[in-house]
């Protein structure tokens, strides 16, 4: 076998061992070394030359990047995730015909979708979705992310939270936690518009706090305009907009001026 290939495989084994031990620092170091070694292979993107070992090199490189992605989830580094995912993408898209598909492909794609959802990049979420074939969309990992986005858009937040239990893989847990935080903010926002007042126990349930104390700290920090009295959380409804008696004069003046100007233009 090619000496370079052997060296890479050995390093990779060491990497996998460190990963199993949860020794993430060693993993990161080994990963950087592996990436440098990978640059020596010419059969990888963007060159895609047809060397004799091309298939093996492509497979190994892809495995390395997949592990890198999972590592970045464990170390909770979202930028690294994005970088590694972008490097991984050509293997899925362009090299599809050269090597058999990876078993982890759908998992990684699902993780990426989830990450875009958490970062609220919905436009990119949908763009990525378009790239997937209908067969991929049936896969549980992808389906999970898609249904999550649906429920999020509709506002059925409790469905989102229950989906946390049904996550297809342990790596999803990190993103689900982040999502939980976003949801809490959303629920708070919706509640203050929708309810006049809620009892403290109900509020605690809705906002997913385990104790009243947490609820009170949350209210004090994030929503100082909510009042807590007599065991109820009262959302500030006093700012009911009375039918506005003032005329927005500046706006009206601007509009009328533009009408005059346009009408003058009509010959």
């Amino acid at each position: 076998m090619d000496p370079q290939l052997t060296e890479v495989s050995q390093q990779f084994e060491r990497f996998k061992a460190a990963f199993a031990r949860k020794d993430y620092n060693t993993c990161s170091d080994l990963l950087s070394q592996l990436k440098v070694l990978l640059t020596k292979f010419t059969s990888l993107p963007p060159l895609f030359e047809n060397s004799p070992n091309a298939a093996k090199e492509l497979t190994i490189a892809r495995d390395i990047y997949e592990h890198a992605v999972v590592l970045s989830v464990k170390t909770e580094d979202q930028d690294a995730f994005e970088r590694d995912f972008f490097q991984l993408k050509p293997y899925y898209v362009d090299a599809r015909n050269r090597i058999p598909s990876s078993p982890q492909e759908n998992l990684i794609l699902g993780l990426n979708l989830l990450r875009l959802l958490v970062q609220n990049r919905i436009a990119e979420f949908h763009t990525e979705l378009e790239l997937l074939s209908s067969a991929t969309l049936e896969d549980p990992c992808i389906k999970h992310a898609v249904e999550l986005e649906q429920s999020f858009m509709e506002g059925a937040y409790n469905r989102v939270l229950s989906a946390r239990q049904t996550a297809p893989d342990a790596t999803y847990v990190y993103f689900m936690d982040l999502l939980a935080k976003t949801i809490r903010d959303e629920i708070a926002g919706c509640s203050e518009k929708a309810y006049d007042y809620v009892s403290i126990s109900d509020a605690r349930q809705m906002l997913l706090f385990s104790s009243d104390q947490e609820l009170l700290t949350y209210v004090k920090e994030e929503h100082p305009d909510w009042e807590v009295k007599e065991g109820f959380v009262v959302f500030q409804k006093a700012k009911e907009t009375a039918p506005c008696k003032e005329i927005p004069s500046l706006q009206l003046i601007n509009q009328t001026l533009s009408y005059a100007r346009e009408l003058e233009r009509i010959v």
Binding site: H126, T127, E130, Q150, E154, N158, S162, V198
Partner: protein, 487 residues
């Protein structure tokens, strides 16, 4: 033996057939003369007229006509001639007869302008594509592109852009679009360098089409935002550009922009281009549904569009009523149509709209309704309907879709009284938007007054591209003649 028999059989039809191809041949020769003068005097509009005349002749082109034309235009035995002749199918047996009859009377032209050679490539391509010989069309178009690289004259631009179009088309019909992406990019690059604006436009559209074919919306958007923009030269290219732009914007969730582009594309497209308009309308309908407005019924009853738009009609119905179950049924029933149109993902997004509309209807009809009933009416089909309904209602209230409050203790939704709307600023803002729209329309109409309205539409053909080309050439010719008059 068999060959002799065939020759004898073809003797009698030959005489009658000789006259028909001759007239087409005559036309082709006139066109060749036109191209000659055009290239000599460097006038683009003559070439444009030549191309327009060719489009009219498209139906009458056959293998024999083209071979005789090739013999006339190019020196027989020259490299170009042999190359092109190899592409022309020799299916007609009376090729020989016609050749000897016509070629003796004409003397080949003294010099061979490059335009004429490119033009020959063009008509050969037309023939191959019309006869559905796609792999040969592929080979021919690649050869023409290679030849085009050496020619750098503005007069060739018109023919060149047509060639680019058919190049892309032949690859698309053989399902090989990804291969030519780099070639198209290189061509676009050189077109920009040479200030070949028509070529630039055509190539940009072809590239966008290429990316969108493979759903690479990200890359398409990147290209589109970086490519240089200018006044559209050709109405059809502009329509295509608007359509692709609309599609990209829809996927990126920018529905207002998308709606504008798609509706403009549908309006500007010539009436004869039915297929294109149907596509535009399909996407426009979905975008309007996603924006929350219901398209009018008259859109679905436009001439020729009733059957293709039928699934979308039923979809609109489901969204309008706000019934999730009906929506689900329609989605399943027409799943393949939607998959073919690639609108499947967009329709999945519509579910949210259906729920919103349903909620709105409920909130208007009831002053107070329990959340249990809300969940039932919405047919939410979930494990925990009341909690779901509660969060959905809360979100809808926050987004301003409905005007209500939730009474958590009693588990019901209380709608607010809608106050007297005339005492607020609402009428003023509504009037303002309408006035602005009318004034805009007036300004655009004034600006568009330079172009004559497309009143003459021939309904003879249903090939959308041919009609489009004809219109375009007529317009260009009209414009060019107008310019002449100014001097």
């Amino acid at each position: 033996m068999t060959q002799d028999v065939e020759m004898k059989d073809n003797q009698t039809p030959t005489e009658s057939v000789v006259s028909a191809p001759t007239s087409t041949l005559q036309n082709l020769k006139e066109i060749a003369a036109l191209i000659d003068t055009g290239s000599y005097t460097k006038e683009v509009r003559r070439i444009a007229r030549a191309v327009r005349l060719t489009v009219g002749l498209r139906r009458q082109l056959t293998g024999s006509v083209i071979s005789s034309f090739l013999d006339f235009a190019l020196v027989p035995g020259s490299e170009a001639h042999t190359r092109l002749s190899s592409f022309v199918p020799k299916s007609d047996e009376h090729d020989m007869e016609v050749d000897t009859a016509s070629s003796t009377s004409q003397a080949p032209p003294k010099h061979l302008p490059a335009e004429l050679e490119i033009y020959c490539y063009f008509i050969v391509l037309l023939l191959l594509i019309d006869q559905k010989k796609y792999s040969e069309a592929k080979a021919c178009s690649s050869a023409s592109i290679a030849r085009l690289k050496n020619v750098n004259r503005r007069t060739v631009d018109v023919i060149a852009s047509k060639l680019y179009f058919y190049y892309s088309l032949s690859y698309e019909l053989t399902d090989d679009l990804a291969e030519i992406r780099s070639t198209l990019l290189a061509l676009h690059h050189s077109a920009t360098l040479r200030h070949d604006e028509l070529g630039q436009e055509t190539l940009l559209n072809l590239l966008l089409r290429n990316y969108l074919h493979y759903n690479l919306y990200d890359q398409a958007e990147k290209l589109r935002s970086k490519a240089p923009r200018f006044e559209a030269h050709s109405n059809q290219q502009f329509c295509r550009y608007l359509f692709y732009l609309g599609k990209i914007r829809t996927i990126q969730l920018e529905y207002t922009d998308a709606k504008e582009s798609l509706l403009q594309a549908a309006r500007k497209a010539p009436v004869a281009s039915l297929g294109f308009r149907i596509q535009c309308n399909k996407w426009a309908i979905i975008v309007r549904l996603l924006l929350g407005e219901i398209p009018e019924r008259s859109i679905f009853t436009q001439k020729g569009m009733e059957k293709p738009l039928r699934p979308y009609f039923e979809l609109t119905n489901a969204v309008r009523i706000g019934d999730l179950e009906l929506f689900g049924n329609v989605q399943e029933k027409f799943a393949e149509t939607f998959a073919k149109d690639r609108t499947h993902n967009l329709i999945v997004r519509l579910r949210h709209n259906v729920i919103r509309t349903g909620l709105r209807n409920i909130s208007i009809s009831y002053s107070r309704i329990s959340l249990q009933d809300v969940a039932q009416k919405l047919r939410l089909n979930s494990a925990n309907p009341v909690a779901d309904a509660e969060s959905i209602v809360a979100k809808a209230i926050r987004d301003g879709a409905i005007d209500a409050t939730i009474d958590h203790k009693n588990g019901c939704m209380v709608s607010k009284e809608t106050g007297d709307i005339y005492s607020t600023n609402e009428p003023q803002t509504a009037f303002n938007s309408r006035i602005a729209f009318c004034l805009n329309m007036h300004n655009e109409a004034v600006r568009a007054l330079r172009f004559p309205p497309n009143t003459h539409k021939e309904k003879e053909s249903d090939e959308k591209r041919r009609e489009k080309k004809q219109q375009e050439e007529e317009l260009a010719k009209y414009m060019a003649e107008e310019d002449d008059d100014d001097f």
